[in-house]
């Protein structure tokens, strides 16, 4: 069921998250990955593995992507972060450039 405009994000503990490309591009890093010339593996396979990001965090990150998209389109809601995730979650944006 893999449509062309989706991408698969795989966490360290091998959880797979399939999200829209648009959402994924909220992260500039992921965007680069998918558009960089040279035929990197990610682009070829349409999936990105994050061996250093856990599923829980990655899930939250995906939620963030969608929320960011909605927000940019005018739907201004709040993004709720569970306090226990905060610290780890903080590093993600830095890494993902988002």
């Amino acid at each position: 069921m893999k449509r062309k405009d989706t991408v698969k994000l795989i966490s360290a503990d091998e959880m797979e998250f399939i999200i829209d490309k648009d959402a994924a591009m909220v992260s500039q890093t992921i965007g680069n990955m998918l558009t960089s010339p040279g035929g990197f593996a990610e682009m070829e396979l349409g999936e990105v593995t994050f061996p250093e990001i856990s599923a829980v965090i990655l899930e939250k990150i995906c939620q963030y992507f969608y929320w960011a998209l909605q927000y940019s389109r005018g739907k201004e809601t709040e993004f709720h972060i569970e306090p226990e995730l905060t610290l780890e979650l903080m590093m993600a944006p830095n890494y993902l450039h988002t």
């Binding site: 360290a12 500039q28 890093t29 680069n32 990955m33 960089s36 010339p37 040279g38 035929g39 990197f40 593996a41 990610e42 682009m43 070829e44 990105v48 593995t49 994050f50 061996p51 250093e52 990001i53 856990s54 306090p83 226990e84 905060t86 610290l87 780890e88 590093m91 890494y95 450039h97």
Partner: protein, 691 residues
Amino acid sequence: MSNQKKRIFQIEAFQNRVVVDPKYAEKTWKILVHAIHEIYNHNASGLSFEELYRNAYNMVLHKFGEKLYSGLVTTMTAHVKEISKSIEAAQGNLFLEELNRKWNDHNKALQMIRDILMYMDRTYIPDTHKTPVHEPGLNLWRDNIIHSGKIQSRLLSTLLELVHRERTGEVIDRGLMRNIVKMLMDLGSSIYQEDFEKPFLEVSAEFYRGESQKFIECYDCGDYLKKAEIRLNEEIERVTHYLDAKSEGKITNVVEKEMIANHMMRLVHMENSGLVNMLLNDKHGDLGRMYNLFRRVPNGLAMIRDVMTSHLRETGKQLVTDAESLKDPVEYVQRLLDEKEKYDGIISLAFSNDKTFQNALNSSFEYFINLNSRSPEFISLFVDDKLRKGLKGVSEGDVEIILDKVMMIFRYLQEKDVFEKYYKQHLAKRLLSLIVKLKTACGYQYTSKLEGMFTDMKTSQDTMQGFCSSHPELTDGPTLVVQVLTTGSWPTQPSITCHLPFEMSALCEKFRSYYLGTHTADIRSHTGRRLSWQTNMGTADIRYKSNFWEGLEKMLAIMACVKGKNVLRKEPMSKDIGEDDSFFVNEKFASKFYKVKVGTVVAQKESEPEKQETRQRVEEDRKPQIEAAIVRIMKSRKVLDHNNIIAEVTKQLQSRFLANPTEIKKRIESLIEREFLERDNSDRKMYRYLA
């Protein structure tokens, strides 16, 4: 507070090792170097972007950014040097292609590297004020390839060689050229200029210097200019296809200088094909081309203009001193007209109506026409001749055109008063000879009035002179010009009272007393002379200094407060006073003995439009009168049929005018529309009055 108990965030969840282990850095770096190699070797597929990105990220995060950066530079340098070798090794024609290919590869690699090292670009670089990744990438290329000893000169000569080949007619790979040139531009505009443009311009200058020398030996002026034009357009096209747009002006300057500016003099003065030849033969195409090319170089147009001027003066001088044409004034003037027309054509068709050329033309004509002091006389003879011919059935329009042309020539005369003197004489002679002919043909009686008119005009002149000299105080006020006409000699018209403004009537009185005073001792008359003012024949020049249009209109209205015929003759002849109208009232007064109807001396033609206007006005005036009559009749009769209405209305209006039945019918319709009347439902011919 409650969170502390939970202690869910653990530092081990923080997955990045806080290890400042140099070995770690070395290990990470090795991974990256390997990746860069692979990238340069086109083996990048299969590499994980994420892994590389993470490694670079980690290095920077753990303060190994410096190592990363310098390592990057070293690695890239090595690669670029290798590339340089492979390009140098390329044979002959493949050189440029190899360069182009490698350049594309390099750019792609650079992009990939930049992407993986994005984190470094974002954080490390700004912090340390180093240049972002792609810049050292370009600089490396510039230093090791473009400026490499073996490549630099070869590149330049290859490019110039291709340009040269194209100039000699070969077809070259423009796409490749464009890419290479773009590469130079991407490396910096100074690279483009120093490494290509400057030498290109120098070589081009040499090329065109040689070519122009060759051409000028074997082509005539017209053909040479054609060639120059072609080359110029070629260069412009070249720029659009594969050079930087900024080069256009520079290369066109080169062509203009070498092909045109350097040979201007020789071209213009070329025997049998230069400017003079073109002028003589009306070669508009060549002249236009010369104009367009020469206007691009300094003093180009000035040169054309000067040569044209001196040529024109020379030929003009010959024209006016040629013994043959001096014998025939009409021929003389005709030739002048032809010359003027010729040059007008040249200036408008080839020199795009350039004003400076127009001025040169004018000054030349002025110069040579006045070389011959008989020019005014000849021109007046020419005019005379044409007017005479005009009477013989040549269309008035044609004569007008010719006279317009003559006027242009006339303007060049410096001694315009000489012309006037001659023309007066010619005109007078012609009129008098006409009268003599009439006398012979029709007898004395016929012409006596005409002669009388002439005599009157002469006498009036003398009278005026006398009047003015005896009343010197009047020079400041309005000027009066009086023509005293003998009754009987002049055609008659009813004279109408005109209320003259005070200044004018006072002046008239002064004249009257002067005139009568000087003629009291006239033996001829028994009853003394009597003057009656024929203001309807007069014209007045009004100079009204005012900014207010309404004031002027008012004044004009006062002056024209004459019933029926206006004292002021207006041009154009319309009811309304427009801005461009001019009024003429020049007091022509007349008559001894009795008040005689003296007609206007105005040409009959002019009353035609006036007549029509009056007619229209009258028609308009009649309409309401007819309507009033209809209403009156219907009011009393209440119901009446069509024929009877017509009869009644006609009878009522009889004293004023003869009503037109069609017009009456129209009026009835109009009244029906406005619901004063209605038609009877049963009988269409019956009308009913509506209260």
